[in-house]
């Protein structure tokens, strides 16, 4: 277990900057998830920590040791690849032992570590099989086992669940969480799947356009997004965005929506035009007139909850979350009440200001 610190690291491919002066500290034993869309630089950042990509500028410290110039094998980190990268001609045992043999570890010790990892991952019976004889989930376990046997300072996961089917992904996700709880190792995990990020992470690092948009616990980034990008990227269904004019000050503050609806709120912002953000679960469908109303266009019944897609008078599209036994039907006029403590206003720069 070890701290990992990135200090103002930069990376370019040719003339294209892919990581722009990123600084980040990962505490010992922490599970940190890099979350972002394709091309945000999250995988590159992980590969820079692993040593598979060079660091153009800035420093990397792993366990207090400057590591940006060390070869990947000397950084005391282990990586689990998206495609597992299991050597197809080696048995599971040999795949796991390969890295240890390369550092000339004693045979008995290698066998002991392989057996321990196999026991942790419940794959004792698979040790003499080759990767081709394993299912996708079993291969994933071997890839994790190959990392575990090294007893590294940190585990690096590069979208490790993306090749699994939906059911197996959920199961493996839970197993990974258990593994982290049992081993208490430092783990850095790259994904574009927000559910994986929300369920696994102690802290999420949201990357966009080569930079960090926000670092925070899953609930922090969900409830208090730092920017419009984070607000839009995290959460499914996504946050609703409406045009809003803020007027008044202090207790008199009011936000006027495009359809004329006026919503009282408390936010530290001067009057002006903003974008108002509100999550579907913060919009309540009410039987009597409330903050505003709209026409239901599509009603998606998900069993435990119902997503009501609406059009306001001015054409603004909105999604509200109703109970599983919602009586709303497409075409109905629906009254909506906003939870004003869960409103966010975004300025022209996309920075978020949260209502109190």
């Amino acid at each position: 277990m070890s701290d990992i610190a990135l200090n103002s690291v930069t990376k370019s491919f040719g003339g294209v900057k892919v990581i722009d002066r990123i600084s980040l500290e990962v505490k010992s034993g922490e599970f940190v998830v890099f979350l972002g869309p394709s091309g945000s630089g999250k995988s590159t950042l992980l590969r820079m920590i692993a040593g598979l990509e060079t660091i153009d500028e800035g420093t990397l410290t792993i366990g207090g040791k400057r590591s940006e110039h060390l070869a990947p094998g000397q950084r005391d980190v282990a990586m689990v690849f998206q495609n597992y990268a299991l050597y197809p001609h080696m048995t599971v045992r040999d795949n796991m032992a390969f890295g240890l043999r390369n550092i000339r570890m004693d045979k008995d010790k290698i066998e002991e570590r392989v057996q321990t990892a196999a026991r942790i991952l419940e794959m004792d019976a698979l040790l003499d099989r080759r990767p081709a004889q394993l299912s996708g989930g079993q291969r994933q376990r071997v890839a994790i086992g190959r990392a575990i046997v090294k007893e590294p300072a940190a585990f690096l996961f590069d979208e490790p669940l993306s090749n699994l089917d939906a059911a197996l992904r959920v199961r493996t996700r839970v197993e990974l969480a258990e593994l982290h709880q049992n081993m208490k190792s430092t783990m850095i995990y790259v994904t574009h799947d927000q559910t994986e990020a929300m369920t696994l992470a102690d802290r999420i690092v949201i990357l966009n356009n080569c930079r960090i948009e926000q670092i925070g616990s899953p609930m922090e980034v969900y409830l208090k997004p730092a920017s419009r990008f984070v607000a839009a990227f995290v959460g499914s269904p996504g946050m609703n965005f409406l045009k809003a004019d803020l007027s008044g000050r202090g207790a008199e503050q009011v936000s006027t929506l495009g359809n004329g609806a006026r919503i009282a709120l408390q936010v530290d912002l001067p009057p002006g035009a903003y974008e108002l953000g509100i999550r579907p679960e913060a919009i309540q469908v009410t039987p009597s007139p409330a903050d505003t109303s709209g026409k239901a266009t599509v009603v998606e019944r998900l069993g435990d909850r119902t997503l009501v897609h609406l059009h306001l008078d001015d054409g603004t599209e909105l999604i509200a979350l109703d109970g599983g036994l919602s009586e709303v039907r497409p075409g109905d006029t629906v009254h909506l009440k906003f939870d004003t403590s869960q409103l966010h206003l975004f300025d022209d720069d996309g920075m978020a200001h949260h209502a109190r």
Partner: protein, 280 residues
Amino acid sequence: MTPKTVRRVNWIGGITTVLTVVIAVLWAFPLYWGIVSSLKPENEVVRPFIELWPDTLTFRHYWFALTETQIGAWYLNSIVTSLGVTVVTVTTSLFAGYALSQLRFPGRTILWWLILASFMVPTQVLIINHFVLMADMGLLNSWAGIILPQLIHPVIIIVYKQFFDQVPKDFREAAAMDNASEWNVLFRIYIPMNWGVTTALSIVTFIWAWNAFLWPFLAVTKTEMMTITVGITQVFDAFGVYYARQLSAAVLAGFPVALAYLLFQRKVTQAITLSAGIKG
């Protein structure tokens, strides 16, 4: 699928089969003719009409080739030189292909273009240079003299490079995370992952080397140092050429290659397919 389409597909299949059989017979006939002629007495061979089966079956010519010539030494020379050419060519091509595919070093592109350009130079153009060089080195009439000029096979390097290019880079990166040296990456990962191509290329190189005639013919003048392909030209005596004897020696010369083809049919086909698009 309607019955009409089924019938048309069958017709196409039938015509293709008949054509394939006809071409195969045309191709195989000289082989058959050579083997049959080697089993005929000499006077039957020179008869002016085609006889598909000998009137008198004889193994006399084979006995002559095996007992009255130095065919044992020729076999040995062929085996040693062909194995030498195969081992050295495949090993060096493996290294060159790996370096060109996986390593980044100054001059890599130029080296690659040089290897590609070497296709434009036929071996025959270089043969005088090779002869002078081998003569200067005192290697004529030696195994080394036969082997060395035959080690130039750019096609093997190119095939290896292509195969190594196709290995997903994840494996190389996983090996880097596993502390593997470049040597380990090549010998523990890349070669075992491409055993199929190594086997195929080894077989085809061995066959090329075994069948080589021009260079071994020039490099060797002593009968006991000849390879089998050169040696069979020596199966004559003071009374001139005996076709059946010559053919029996040729059959014996071709026998190991034929055996290799039979044993490793799929690998040979694979190797020929691999190099077909490349070999100049």
